[in-house]
Amino acid sequence: MKNVVIIGNGIAGVTAARHIRKKSDHKITIISGETDYFFSRTALMYIFMGHMKFEHTQPYENWFWKKNRIDLVKAFVTKVDTVSKTVSLDNNTNLNYDDLIIATGSKPNKFGWPGQDLKGVSGMYSKQDLDAITESSKDCHRAVIVGGGLIGIEMAEMLASKNIPVTFLVRETSFWNGVLPEGESDMVNRHIREHHIDLKLQTGLSEIISDENGRAKAIVTDKGETIACNLVGLTAGVSPNIDFLKDSTIELGRGVMVNRKLETSVPNVYAIGDCAQQHEGIGERRPIEAVWYTGKMMGETVARTICGEPSDYTPGHWFNSAKFLDIEYQTYGWVWAQPKENEGRFYWEHKDGKKCVHFNYDKNTRKFIGLNTFGIRLRHNMFDKWLKEERSVEHVLEHLKDANFDPEFYDQHETEILEKFNQENNTNLVSKKKSWKRILQNAINL
């Protein structure tokens, strides 16, 4: 029986703990300073908006941990000594470990802006951040959000839901266009404005100005404009939360450096989730993957390794999803903002301007590479299968009805989409009827 200590009770650490418990009798301790119990960070905005209470974001009931013999310690780790195999906590106690898993997630980026630590200025990552935002929103006459990514737009939405006027500073020429191609990005721009959020493109932050009480009272943009506001959201990306490891012997890059088995440079120390950095990105993936499901997968993988089945982290085909105000977004495979040389694209947008699909394929081999979908839900299993089988874009388009995942009675657009493709490509593809046989083949056999 080993003594496994996990730092961080986010999705990565908790998944690791649960799977170690499933597979073994090891002693498991999770140390985390943020909250008593695991909660879903992705739902922070819904707590603020009143869709849920904090307790609803906890995926497991409180008795779960004791029942599964997972010890919880609420503290921050200040130091890791890999020689004596101890971690020091901010409550002045030490814990020994046989195996250590670092799963400390991310922290919001702050780029040294003047005034970035004033009252009323906050990132949105932790429960504490949310509490601070909630507090400053109470007398907020205008909020400014800095940084147009997924967390930025969530923060804009939640503040706007309380009828707080929001200015949204986005450095790029169009929202999230480092990731989204033009059509999609533009759709989101329009939708943000439809929600009366004051979207300022190509605009960055230069400084935040304090009032006499040390609270933000205005910001100055890099264009010299001053905007009076008493709440500032800093959402210009996140980076691994590993400052407490600076003095340890563990090799660090931007994150904790790990190999494919998620082992760090020091034996018996592993890193998973947002804070882990691969020496080289896997496939087209980035070396640091700050998304929910990869944290889950890494947690499961490391559990296997620790329980005696050393395993590689093999994340499979890329997918992700998000929601931009009222428009849902899913992606399967890769659709870069700018097509690569060998890539062909096919874009269809619905006339109401709130739905679109964007196909990426290899111009020469016709191989399907990836898809973005906005406002239409699509079946993950089907796309995973098509990507695995290296199907052609034509095959995917013809069988698109198999992948439709919208609720029953929704308008379906497969035929319309196919017609546009046929027109643009001089083809004669015909939409195939939905087939349960094909759908299930996939779900069961893969």
């Binding site: 009143g50 869709h51 499901y293 997968m297 009222d326």
Partner: protein
């Protein structure tokens, strides 16, 4: 624009409030005068034998203007005095004893007399009175909800503030609402003699539909339909981007108004039995009671058709439909209880308990009710065919009538009405459907083991946010399945479709597909990081 909308909304609140104020306040006013004819009719129709009671009560109430309260109390006091008098006689004549039971005497004895004795403004001004209650409340309700079309912004899920508002988060407003709901049900079921004025508001409508004056049940039916209509409008606005919700709400409203309300009244107007074609046994627990069977069979061809239809509905139509579409076809598309829960109850859906413990309670309770309903019905059928009168003792001093009465009281009134609906603002909107309805239990068994219905989970897209579980009115922890990539096959799911609607990542889809275990519940491999199995957990806990 938004300020105007808010003004309309606020005026709407005021009108609704006034409507309710008049409605509830009228209970405390009005004068009642029993005429000599009404009195004689009443004595005869109730078969009262005690001369002592007949004479003294006549002196006390006939031709006197009284309030409903005074009149009711007078009758009870007289009955008690009469019983005491009779019991002092050397030879007690038990026929002259008037049985007094709190949950029966008021509705069966006193109510008809009070209803007949109503006089004055409420009787003379039914149209105006209708306007001041239902009229104001309906117009006000629509004015409250319709501005949301603009106020809520672009179409989408707007559950903003639900857990921050006292009405929808078990705050003081919620408790006050629950108090009013419960009081209304208690009066409706047990003391209709105190709500004669509200009943008078719909007298005109009842007469024009069936020719009869309104009963408390007509009032209830009319209220039910109006409340559902107003709240259906709210649903149409809230879910205007979601066709599943739009169609489902429209259909369930149609079934309520056409099949549960209008058609039965029209049947009565044509001297046919009052019959709700969609109300299946065992929800319709009195279907096999002797009075119902006899009533139907003695009403000619249509009555016999109704009887056969009722049996077919339970034995064939219900299970076959559940096989193809899941129990949702009934619970959230057709059923009246479901219809109210999905309209008036929608603002409260998030209050259902999601704990593993409550799931356990649910399975015990609902199957117990199913067993109770089945046993009661078997006993009823036994005495029917053995031609034993229902009041005759069968065993342990209990008659089938007693069993029926107990069921009607505990399950039919207290559970389904007082608790089931009265506690919407505290326990959520499907308490009855989840913990009590025997038809739901029956369909749940079919759905769990033999049905094409499931909620499919979309691979690895779940981010465990919890919206689906929070808004599940049946208290299903949807997330616990979704986050491990498992489809949801649960006997209690009524297929309202709201988990799918609120999911921000497009993870859930209600669908009917091949009925194999593999396709319904097998975990797909697309997500790694497989999760604990709730079902396994539950087994281990037992």
């Amino acid at each position: 624009m938004n300020t105007q909308m808010k003004t309309i909304k606020n005026i709407g609140y005021i009108l609704t409030f006034l409507g309710f104020l008049f409605f509830a306040g009228s209970i405390f006013t009005g004068s009642y005068k029993v005429t000599p004819e009404a009195y004689t009719n009443w004595i005869n129709s109730k078969g009262i034998k005690s001369e002592y009671f007949i004479e003294n009560t006549q002196k006390a109430i006939v031709d006197k203007e009284m309030s409903a309260w005074a009149l009711s109390h007078e009758i009870i006091d007289q009955a008690k005095a009469s019983n005491e008098f009779q019991k002092k006689q050397t030879e007690i004549d038990w026929n002259k004893i008037i049985h007094i039971k709190w949950n029966k005497t008021s509705k069966e004895y006193i109510f008809p007399l009070v209803k007949a004795a109503a006089t004055g403004w409420f009787v003379d001004n039914t149209a105006l009175w209708f306007f001041l209650t239902f009229g104001l409340a309906i117009i006000g309700g629509l004015m409250v909800f319709i501005p949301d079309y603009k106020l809520l912004g672009p179409a989408g899920i707007k559950n903003n503030g639900i857990f921050q508002h006292s009405a929808t988060n078990r705050g003081i407003v919620g408790f006050v609402a629950a108090f009013f709901f419960v009081s209304f049900y208690v009066l409706l079921y047990f003391f209709p003699n105190y709500i004669v004025n509200p009943i008078l508001a719909v007298d005109g409508i009842s007469k024009s539909l069936s020719g009869n004056p309104a009963s408390q049940w007509f009032l209830y039916g009319f209220m039910y339909c109006s409340v559902m209509t107003v709240f259906a409008v709210r649903m149409f606005i809230k879910y205007r981007h979601n066709k599943y919700q739009l169609i489902r709400t429209g259909v369930v409203l149609f079934f309520q108004i056409a099949f549960a309300f209008l058609l039965p009244e029209i049947l009565v107007a044509f001297n046919q039995p009052w019959f709700d074609f969609k109300n299946a046994w065992p929800l319709n627990y009195s279907f096999f009671f002797d009075w119902n069977i006899n009533g139907l069979i003695s009403s000619g061809n249509l009555g016999i058709f109704m009887f056969v239809w009722g049996i077919l509905l339970t034995v064939i139509i219900v299970p076959v439909m559940v096989y193809f579409y899941g129990k949702r076809w009934y619970c959230s598309w057709v059923c009246g209880c479901g219809g109210l829960a999905e309209t008036l109850g929608d603002p409260y859906r998030q209050l259902s308990d999601k704990s593993l413990f409550s799931w356990k309670v649910e399975r015990w309770l609902i199957h117990t009710v199913l067993a109770f309903a089945t046993i009661m019905t078997l006993l009823t059928l036994y005495i029917y065919f053995a031609e034993i009168p229902s009041w005759k003792e069968l065993f342990w001093g209990i008659s089938v009538y007693d069993v029926q009465t107990l069921y009607g009281f505990l399950i039919g009134s207290i559970f389904s009405g007082v608790i089931g609906t009265g506690f919407y603002p505290i326990l959520g909107n499907r308490v009855w459907c989840r913990f009590g309805c025997p038809l739901a239990a029956y369909m749940g068994l079919v759905q769990r083991f033999k049905s094409r219905f499931r909620i499919t989970t979309n691979g690895g897209q779940c981010i465990s946010c919890g919206n689906c579980s929070t808004y599940c009115e049946q208290g299903i922890d949807v997330r616990s399945y979704a986050q491990k990539g498992q489809n949801i096959v649960r006997s209690s799911c009524v297929g309202c479709g709201v988990c799918s609607a609120v999911c921000p990542r497009g993870v859930l889809k209600l669908e009917n597909g091949p009925n194999t275990d593999a396709s319904r519940t097998e975990v797909s491999d697309v997500t790694l990081g497989n999760d604990i199995d709730l079902l396994e957990m539950l087994k281990k806990n037992d």
